[in-house]
């Protein structure tokens, strides 16, 4: 539903959401758990893939789980593994994962505009669980006027659990799970992003900006043909920053 009425008239669609808006932090937290459940579904299999891969790279089960539990960085963790596999030293690995995760500076800055009167400890907790997916779910929820620090913590908790549990299962069962792609998990993230795109598209301006970002991200790899090779992890950041800039220039008012 690409309607703007969601943001201008935040009509509460179901009783649970209504209760959450006025209810106790615990109720909001539980609402966040439910909101984040698709992330759980998406993270479990990808976490499993990380667990399996980490084991083949010489990580112990404990190391693989601690890595997922403390970093909570999907792409960053996979890139760390591939750099380690290529024989890079710790400094090279850390620089690579930092570059991939620089997009979080952008996400955190955006999210911070919703968290003005929130204590620093809460900032820390929400920053810890900030990923592409929790960001998108919380922004969509905020557009409906429903997001609170408690609901965001719920989203983060269920996402974290999916990622860590998936890693544990993958690391323990590395030998006999085999290829997790036969469960359609290769499409889990794509499906979630598709739904989130529709949820975030407030009006036609957003659709235009989103399509522009998509066109840029697909166009950037083509620059390789003219000799301008970029690190693939930069595609997303460059496309998002350019498209948002175009939007901000074209629609100066409102």
């Amino acid at each position: 539903m690409l309607s703007s009425d969601v943001s201008t008239h935040p009509h509460i669609e179901d009783r649970a959401a209504g209760a959450a808006l006025h209810g106790a932090p615990v109720a909001r937290f539980r609402r966040g758990l439910a909101l984040g459940f698709p992330i759980f579904l998406g993270y479990m299999p990808v976490g499993m893939a990380f667990g399996i891969l980490a084991r083949t790279m010489g990580f112990s089960v404990f190391a693989a789980v601690v890595c997922s539990a403390t970093a909570l960085a999907g792409a960053g963790q996979f890139i760390a593994l591939s750099f380690l596999a290529a024989g890079a030293g710790p400094v090279g690995v850390l620089i690579a994962t930092t570059v991939v995760n620089l997009r979080y500076v952008l996400f955190a800055s955006t999210l911070s505009t919703y968290l003005r009167d929130t204590p620093t400890a809460t900032h820390a907790a929400l920053a810890f669980s900030l990923t592409d997916e929790t960001f998108a779910v919380n922004v969509a929820d905020h557009r409906q006027g429903l997001a609170t620090p408690a609901s965001m913590a719920g989203v983060g908790a269920v996402a974290w659990t999916g990622w860590v549990l998936g890693t544990l299962i993958g690391a323990v069962g590395a030998g006999w799970i085999g290829d997790p792609s036969r469960f359609g998990v290769g499409f889990a993230m794509a499906a979630m992003f598709t739904a989130l795109f529709l949820a975030l598209a407030e009006d036609w301006r957003h659709v235009v900006i989103g399509v522009v970002a998509g066109a840029i991200v697909l166009g950037l790899p083509l620059l390789g043909a003219v000799g301008l090779r970029l690190e693939p992890s930069w595609y997303l950041v460059i496309a998002a920053m350019l498209a948002a800039s175009i939007g901000a220039v074209v629609w100066r008012e409102g």
């Binding site: 459940f37 579904l41 790279m57 010489g58 890595c67 403390t70 909570l72 960085a73 960053g76 760390a80 380690l84 710790p90 850390l94 994962t97 930092t98 995760n101 979080y104 500076v105 952008l106 996400f107 955190a108 955006t110 911070s112 505009t113 820390a124 920053a127 810890f128 900030l130 592409d132 960001f135 922004v139 036969r182 889990a188 993230m189 794509a190 499906a191 979630m192 992003f193 598709t194 739904a195 795109f197 529709l198 949820a199 975030l200 900006i209 989103g210 522009v212 970002a213 998509g214 991200v217 697909l218 790899p221 595609y235 997303l236 496309a239 998002a240 948002a244 939007g247 901000a248 629609w251």
Partner: protein
């Protein structure tokens, strides 16, 4: 690979990942952003999502392929329709994954 290297990477990644998320969040929430910057930030989420959808659906795995012969584009359409009518993230995600698995097996038969 040495366990020392692995643990240096794990601890370093934890520290860096937390810093890039926490510092902007807590610093920017304390300052009044100029209006143009705030507006720019308000367009960031939809841009990120547009870029993510485009690369995941049209260039899965970072490799070019014909979107009309693969399952991703059709599965994305199913996902979008389910979300459009149910507003359910779980329902849309599961429907997308299920249609992806079915199409993965059915498309080669249909197209051959």
């Amino acid at each position: 690979m040495s366990q020392t290297t692995i643990w240096i990477v794990i601890v370093g990644m934890a520290a860096i990942n937390f810093a890039v998320r926490f510092l902007p969040l807590t610093i920017v929430s304390r300052i009044d952003l100029p209006k143009p910057v705030a507006r720019w930030l308000s367009f960031v989420p939809i841009s990120v999502m547009g870029a993510l959808v485009a690369s995941e659906v049209l260039r899965p795995g970072g490799v070019w392929s014909n979107p009309l012969t693969g399952p991703s584009l059709y599965a994305a359409a199913v996902t979008a329709l389910v979300f459009r009518f149910t507003r359910s993230f779980v329902g849309a995600t599961v429907a997308g994954m299920a249609s992806f698995v079915v199409l993965q097996h059915a498309l080669p038969l249909i197209l051959s």
